[in-house]
């Protein structure tokens, strides 16, 4: 991870060091502690900025190290960083989902925008905990009336039966999600 971070500049290296320190402290901890630690790490370290500003593209899915290198990111960059960090800390992939939501900002009747959050399901049918960059605190879904979930996905099953797929696999580059999956893998997550 450290070696991979060098590509993205000194900020990425220090970010990776800090992340590794956090991850090291999570060994053996329970999952709610891990959630809190990772959520805080990214929410505090990363400043929100639209992709157009950071990457010069309308929409760009940055890998965790890319985001740490810039120190800035938008909603899906937060979610991606948290998702891979939690996986790295030992949280099972089945309990994590990336969720497209419709967020209403500033109370009912406020501005509506497309947003993405990370949901944590303690058990398959349980009410999820929402890790968000709009509200720093982790809350259960029922306490987030501002969010309306549309569709969710995760990396579960994507590599099933395909064996060891390399970063160079053409399929991996075809969608944003898979590209990020491949990049995160290459970065050591």
């Amino acid at each position: 991870m450290l070696r991979a971070s060098q590509v993205h500049g000194p900020a990425a290296v220090s970010g990776a060091r800090a992340l590794q320190a956090v991850l090291a402290g999570l060994v053996g901890q329970d999952e709610s502690y891990k959630l809190t630690a990772i959520n805080q790490f990214f929410n505090r370290r990363i400043v929100f900025a639209p992709d157009q500003e950071v990457w010069g593209q309308a929409d760009y899915w940055a890998s965790p190290l890319e985001m740490l290198g810039k120190g800035r990111g938008d909603c899906e960059d937060y979610v991606i960083g948290k998702y891979f960090s939690l996986l790295a800390s030992g949280v099972p992939v089945t309990s994590l989902r990336l969720v497209y939501v419709r967020a209403t900002i500033g109370g009912p009747g406020g501005e509506v925008l497309a947003h993405m959050v990370l949901a944590y399901y303690a058990s398959p049918g349980a009410e999820p905990l929402i890790l968000d960059n709009l509200i720093g605190e982790i809350r259960p879904a029922s306490r987030r009336p501002d969010l309306d979930p549309a569709f969710s996905f995760n990396g579960d099953g994507l590599w099933q039966g395909v064996g060891a797929q390399s970063v160079g696999d053409p399929v991996a580059r075809l969608s944003r999600w898979r590209e990020v999956l491949a990049k995160a893998r290459a970065e050591g997550f």
Binding site: R97, G125, P149, F151, S152, F153, D156, Q160, G161, V162
Partner: protein
């Protein structure tokens, strides 16, 4: 295995390998592509279906319906919905076998349809995941058709490549065949050069063989020149270039006794009167000029009459042997008349006389010489430029005109009134090399079996020599089959001119291949000089059948036969006129030795004809000949002079 066949196998192997590799690469890359496409389709369809299911607000029936609708209208192997707890909620499955692709092909090229998985939820509630696997049967059919198309296309390319290779191989094969043919002809003893081919390696090889043949030719020419000079020393008069006495006598003796000689002939003896006196008055130079002038006058005659030969017997005596009966006196008169006009230029006292006699085949040499000496003596008793002819001919020829002869020869052939005489040819150890078998023909039923001297001219005039030679060949083969003794027959020069003759002989030989291996076939040296290409072709036709092929009555012209080394011969029989009397004449022995050495250098066997005494035989063995034949070989006791 031949080189060309090896090249072909190599080409074929390469083409098949290329075809196989080509099809394999096409199929495997198409398979990879299809597999990737399937994976993408599975993944996308799973995501799309998951979005639809997510819209169903968690109503299980609606979700199942949507998934079933997707399954029924699309091309799927299975669609499974797995609940959040990991238990399958519902699933649809179908197995479709490939329609066209055979089972072995499917087993050989498995296409993995990687399942596409997507998450389904109802609001925040995770419902489970949907797993979509597309149908891969169509992919196998597609792959199978692709493989067939590729094989077809590559097959066409392969055929084109094969055709090009064929042209290439043919380009190599032709010069290669030529080179091999040259090598084979070298082995057969036909030393010939061929055009250099375009192929680099073959060109070097051919050049090497050509230069070897060229070197051989130079060596041969050197030897031939040496032999020719030995011959001149041994048999020619230094001043005129005519045969000397010894050689003329040997020639005449051979001509009178040769099996296939001329039935009748003529002999003319011409003498310059008082040569010593003339020499004294005219001087040596003028005398020499006169002698040469007489020689030239005579030479005009031998050029006109084929088979005639002349000699300068001593200082003043010239002899002319004619191959035809009944013309001796007339010829002598014509010559003397010419000289009567020409000689006075050298001096008033220069004059000649001539005696002329008729000779017949089988006549003793001494008898003929005595008769002509007697005639000359009578002419000398008369005034200068007189010709006396002695009529010693006896009418032995068959009467009845040309038609009569033709009928007689034909009748004798048809009635099989022919047989082979046998004369042994032995080597130095006394072992039989072969039996020389001249044909004897009973011209009149119940009459004597006559030798060729009697009937060959008739056969030649009647153009029956081919039939005669063919009959001799068949008889010889029959005799060989009976007693296993090797036999030799000779071919008449006249037969060579018949274009179908060689093929006829070869057919006969091929019918009894076992006997053919013990057969020796020979033609006259003159035939080889005059029809070299025909003789060479005959050798090429007959030698592969196992028969040996050689020249007979050879010696005079061998040194001048420049392409002898191309002829492809097995042996050469040296004429009696060369071999006779070698014991007494060191120069002739030297010629004989040179001849034997030259012929041996061409890997030819050397056989001497007409050996009539033990001394000659001993000298001939010393000269290096491989075999001898003649009266002494046939009956050593009676032929050896009592000592």
């Amino acid at each position: 295995m031949s080189l060309i066949r090896q090249i072909w196998l190599l080409l074929l192997g390469t083409l098949l390998l290329a075809l196989f590799a080509g099809v394999t690469i096409v199929v495997s890359s198409a398979r990879d592509t299809l597999q990737t496409q399937l994976q993408l389709k599975n993944s996308d369809n799973a995501t799309a279906l998951a979005q639809v299911l997510t819209q169903q607000k968690g109503q299980r029936e609606m979700m199942e319906l949507a998934a079933a609708a997707q399954f029924d209208t699309g091309f799927y192997r299975s669609i499974r919905f797995i609940g959040a707890d990991g238990k399958p909620m519902f699933q649809r499955e179908a197995t479709v076998r490939p329609q066209d692709a055979p089972t072995w092909f499917v087993a050989l090229t498995p296409i993995e349809s990687v399942p596409g998985v997507a998450q389904v939820s109802d609001g925040w509630r995770a419902l489970g995941s949907i797993e979509v696997v597309s149908q891969s049967a169509f992919a196998h059919d597609e792959l199978w058709h692709g493989a067939l198309r590729a094989a077809e296309a590559l097959g066409v390319v392969g055929v084109i490549a094969g055709l090009l290779a064929f042209l290439g191989v043919e380009r190599i094969r032709r010069p290669l065949d030529h080179t091999v043919e040259q090598a084979a002809s070298l082995q057969r003893g036909e030393y010939m050069t061929v055009a250099e081919p375009n192929v680099l390696e073959l060109r070097r090889l051919t050049r090497a063989m050509n230069s070897m043949v060229e070197r051989l030719r130079v060596v041969f020419e050197g030897q031939a020149a040496q032999v020719e000079s030995l011959r001149r020393q041994a048999s020619c008069d230094a001043l005129t270039g005519l045969s000397n006495r010894g050689h003329f006598m040997a020639q005449l003796g051979a001509a009178l006794n040769r099996e296939d000689g001329h039935a009748a002939g003529g002999l003319i003896l011409l003498r310059v009167h008082e040569l010593a006196e003339v020499n004294r008055t005219l001087g040596r130079e003028a005398t020499d000029r006169m002698i040469r002038s007489i020689a030239q006058t005579l030479q005009v005659y031998i050029e006109r009459a084929k088979g005639a030969f002349i000699g300068r017997l001593n200082g003043a005596d010239f002899a002319l042997a004619l191959p035809q009966g009944g013309v001796a006196a007339e010829t002598a008169k014509a010559i003397v008349e010419l000289l009567r006009v020409a000689l006075p230029a050298f001096g008033a006292r220069v004059s000649v006389s001539a005696g002329a006699v008729e000779t017949r085949h089988g006549q003793e040499l001494a008898g003929a010489m005595t008769a002509v000496d007697f005639a000359l003596a009578k002419a000398e008793g008369d005034e200068p430029f007189t010709v006396v002819s002695a009529s010693t001919t006896d009418e032995g020829l068959v009467g009845g005109g040309e038609q009569g002869w033709r009928e007689q020869v034909r009748a004798a052939l048809n009635a099989r009134r022919v047989r082979l005489a046998t004369f042994p040819v032995v080597n130095a150890a006394g072992a039989l090399l072969h039996l020389e078998c001249p044909l004897r023909m009973q011209l009149a039923a119940g009459g004597p079996f006559e030798n060729a001297a009697r009937w060959l001219p008739l056969a030649q005039r009647s153009k029956l020599t081919c039939d005669v030679d063919e009959r001799a060949l068949i008889l010889a083969l029959d005799d060989i089959a009976r007693d296993g003794q090797p036999r030799g027959i000779n071919i008449s020069p006249a037969s060579l001119l018949d274009s179908s003759f060689a093929a006829r002989l070869r057919t006969i030989l091929s019918e009894s291949p076992r006997s053919a291996r013990h057969l020796w076939i020979e033609v006259d040296e003159i035939a080889a000089v005059e029809h070299f290409d025909i003789v060479r072709e005959l050798a090429r036709q007959l030698r592969p059948a196992g028969a040996r092929f050689g020249l007979e009555h050879a010696g005079e012209r061998l040194g001048r036969l420049e392409r002898l080394f191309e002829a492809g011969l097995d042996y050469v029989k040296i004429d009696a006129s060369v071999a006779h009397g070698v014991a007494l004449d060191p120069q002739r022995a030297a010629f004989m030795k040179g001849l034997a050495t030259m012929l041996h250098s061409l890997s030819l066997e050397v056989i001497a004809e007409g050996v009539s005494d033990a001394e000659d035989a001993r000298t001939l063995w010393a000269c290096g000949v491989d075999g001898i034949t003649g009266p002494w070989v046939q009956a050593p006791e009676s032929a050896t002079p009592a000592s």
